[in-house]
Structures are given as C-alpha cells and as structure tokens.
C-alpha cells in the first residue's frame, strides 16, 4: 500500500531540552481510516502539526506522500479541521461562504469562484446534510452542525488526506455518533485517507481499522479490537 504519511524516529520539543514527542515511528497507508488518541498534553496535536508540515521535527523526518512534509508540493490535496475550529471574525459567514472557502487552494486565489467550484461546494454541503442551512450564518447552528460545515469546507477541496483534530469538542454524544458515521461514509465512498485525532476514541472505534495511542511516544498501534482492556479505562489513559 503506498504511504500517505511516514514519520521516522521523530522527536520534537518547542524549546531546547523539552520532549513533547520522542522516537515516533508511524506509517499511514493511502485510504486508511486511523484514529490517533491519547491523553490531553500527550503530543497528539504536535504529531498532527508535524505530519502536516506545520512544524519540523527536532530529530527524525516526516514525509507526506514521499516528500518532506514541510516542503510538500501538493498542499491543495490536504484537508484539515483544526482543534476547536471556530469561525474567525464577527461577520455572519454563511455555511455556503465557509464551505466555498475550501475551494481556495484548488480553485485559484484570484477573482470570483468558477461554476465548478460552486458546484463542488454545494456537493460538499449536501454530503454533510446541511443543504437547508446553506445560506444561514454558521454561528446560528449547533456545535455539531458547525463541525459538519467545517468538514464540508475540508471536503470541498477534494482532499486525498483529511486530518481532523478533536472534531467532537463541544459536540453532544448524538452528534458525535453521526459525525463518526459521516466520516465512515466519506472513507468508504471517496477513499479519502482519514486521520481522526481525539482524546477519546469511543465514537469512532467501531469504524476505524487502526488505532494509534500517543503518550509522548506511540504506546499502542493496531486494530481497536487488540487494545488491552485496561486502555478503555480513562484513568489509565490519562495517568
């Protein structure tokens, strides 16, 4: 299986002497749906930032589709939902405006949106089930619907790799389940490689083929069914 992501002996600290990550080896194949979990402060978001080339490892190397992640040439193929994604600014951006922003890199920066870009944005809105809310300001929607709008934004760019960092923060349990089912549909229908990062993985456990637990280094990597029972105890995960 060709590799989408390859981390080799990656260590990282935000200042000298600090080790947020240490000796991380991780290979994610194209088309995989992987959950990355671990305690808060365990290095998940740092791992994601290195994986996307937003930070460079202090040691080791990070590759995206075989290229150094920080110099990756096909960035428009990356979709990213940042931790606690929320709308910048106070202007009441609508769902359609937010999702259309996902066509920015792929559709060209200058001038108005082309018809094809508008169609792809509309398709992404339909895929996450927000058609009837498309022209409403995002802020008037529930937390779960707002996350769907941001996922649609990431999808509008037709990504081959979709990374979601804590997408269920502030989302009720019911919406978490439907979000997980939505991602499963995207994975099976579109073949998108999905990296789902969360401090708790209950919602996606039944959908992912692989679970990676991070606590400074990788402490588990395998099918969720192989996870020792003790890891299902939150006190163990967060210890």
């Amino acid at each position: 299986m060709p590799l989408a992501v390859e981390l080799e002996s990656v260590s990282f600290g935000y200042r000298p002497g600090q080790r947020v990550l240490e000796g991380v080896d991780l290979k994610l194949g194209e088309g995989e749906f992987v959950a990355v979990a671990g305690p808060n402060g365990g290095g998940k978001t740092t791992l994601v930032r290195i994986l996307l080339g937003l930070e460079r490892p202090s040691e080791g190397r990070a590759l995206l589709y075989g290229e150094p992640a920080h110099r990756f040439s096909r960035r428009r193929t990356l979709g990213y939902l940042a931790q606690r994604s929320e709308l910048g600014g106070d202007a009441p951006a609508t769902v359609r405006e937010v999702v259309s922003a996902g066509r920015l890199a792929a559709g060209g920066l200058i001038g108005p949106l082309r018809r094809r870009d508008r169609e792809l944005a509309a398709e992404a809105i339909a895929r996450v089930g927000l058609e009837e809310y498309a022209d409403l300001p995002v802020r008037t929607l529930s937390g779960g619907m707002q996350q769907r709008a941001f996922i649609a934004k990431a999808l509008a760019g037709e990504p081959s790799l979709l990374v979601l960092d804590e997408p269920t923060t502030g989302v009720d349990v019911e919406s978490q389940d439907s979000l997980a089912a939505l991602l499963d549909g995207l994975h099976s229908d579109l073949g998108v490689t999905i990296v789902y990062v969360s401090h708790e993985f209950g919602a996606v456990e039944r959908f992912v083929q692989r679970l990676v637990l991070v606590r400074r280094s990788i402490v588990f990597d395998g099918p969720p069914s192989d996870l020792p029972g003790v890891w299902h105890d939150p006190s163990h995960v967060h210890a």
């Binding site: 960035r75 428009r76 202007a91 951006a93 405006e97 890199a105 792929a106 108005p112």
Partner: protein, 265 residues
Amino acid sequence: MLESEFMRLALGAGAVVGVLAPAVGFFLVQRRQSLTGDGIGHVAFAGVAAGILLDVAPVLTALVAAILGGIAIELLRSRGGTAGDQALALVFYTGIALGVVLISAAGALNVDLFQYLFGSILTVTRSDFVVIAALGAVGLAVVGLLYRPLAGIVIDEEGARVAGVPIGALNIAVAALAAVTVALSMRVVGILLVAALMVLPVSAAERIAWSMRSTLALAMAIGLCSSLVGLTVSYYADLPPGGTIVLVAAGAYAVCSIVGSVRGR
C-alpha cells in the same frame, strides 16, 4: 452647496475614502486588528514630519512611511514573536515620537499640523482629487480581486495555511492596502480619526448583515453615507468635516445596534 467647487471636490474625495476605508478595514476588523489603521496613522505622522523636514510633499512621505509601518506591524505580529497589541504599541509610540522629533528638527512646530491630524478635506484640489480617485480605484480593485483569499483566511487561517494559501503574502497585501487607505484618508478625516472610518462602518454593518459579503457591502454603503452626510452637515452647521463624518459613522453604529437588537440578533 454643490455650486462651490471646493465642496464638489470634497464630496468626491469623501466618497472615495468613504467606500475604500471600510472595504480595507473589513479584513482588519474580522481579524481582530481594528487598531492597525491607528498604528499606521501614527507612522504616517512621522512621514508627514519627514516631508516637512526634507521639503518634500508630506502626503508622499506619509504614504511611504505608512506602507513601511504597515508592513512592520505585520512582520512584528507574525514573525517576531511579539504579541499583536505590543507590536502595535511599539509602532504607535515610535511613530508619534519620531514625528515630534522630526517636526522639532525642522523647526516647524509652528506649522499648522491640524490639517494632517484632523483632516483638511475642504482644501482638496483637482490634482489631489485625481490622485485620491486613482489610488482609491486601485485599492478597491485589489480588494475585489483578493476578496476570496482574504475572506478565506478570516474564516479559517490554519486550514488555509495547511492547504498552501500564501498567508504571509496576503497579510502583507492587507497591510499595504491599509497604508494606502490611511495616506488617502489623511486629507479627509486626518491621521487621528482615520481608523474610525475603517472600523465603525464595519462594526455597524455586522449588527444587521446576514452574510460575510453583505457585511462588506453594507460597510461600504455606511462609509459612503457617513462621508457624504457628514460633509453636508458640516457645511450647513459650520462644523469641522473630519470629526462630523466620524460622528455620523458612530451614529450609524448606534442605529444599526438598535436595529440588530430589535431583530433579536
């Protein structure tokens, strides 16, 4: 009022700045950088002082200083590890202090600085108006061309960065646009009030708008009306034009806030 050429020129210049200032200010306000225009205005004051010292047209030196100041604020904010408000404070105070020192060195503390600090729209000449209209048209064209990427950064900066959108270059473009706007607006409302015309119409529009695009369009309309109404009121009531324009914009904010509250926003 319209039979006087100075008023026709003032209304023309006011209209251009009334539309351009909120169009550029929109992106600053949405990114919580409302005071950037003020910071650039303070640097423009140093530019005016340098112009007086060097005996060069102060508007030109103010434009150069404003562009350098705008880029400095952006670089300090994004790369220097300096918090946004501290970067602004640094540029604010350095600009105003440099201006005072340069004016003093020129032995020109007795020069009428009021026209730069509070505007002098009634003294706009035909050639001034041509410059204001031409640069204003260029500024609006750039806003129109870059609307999508700039709005995209407002909506989700980190997502845009991951997707390879050139955030740094676009931020510099906004800073340069803000600098040109400040330099043009100097004649209309003055250095001390320039940021008001970049911020108040946008804040007012946010109260009643239904989308991002409508916020921008309403802000430009409110800016235009504030300029024209402010100038008209100042003509008949014999009030200072710059201050009157900004007070009308503040009034528009109050009205929009009330309308927004009534609509249950």
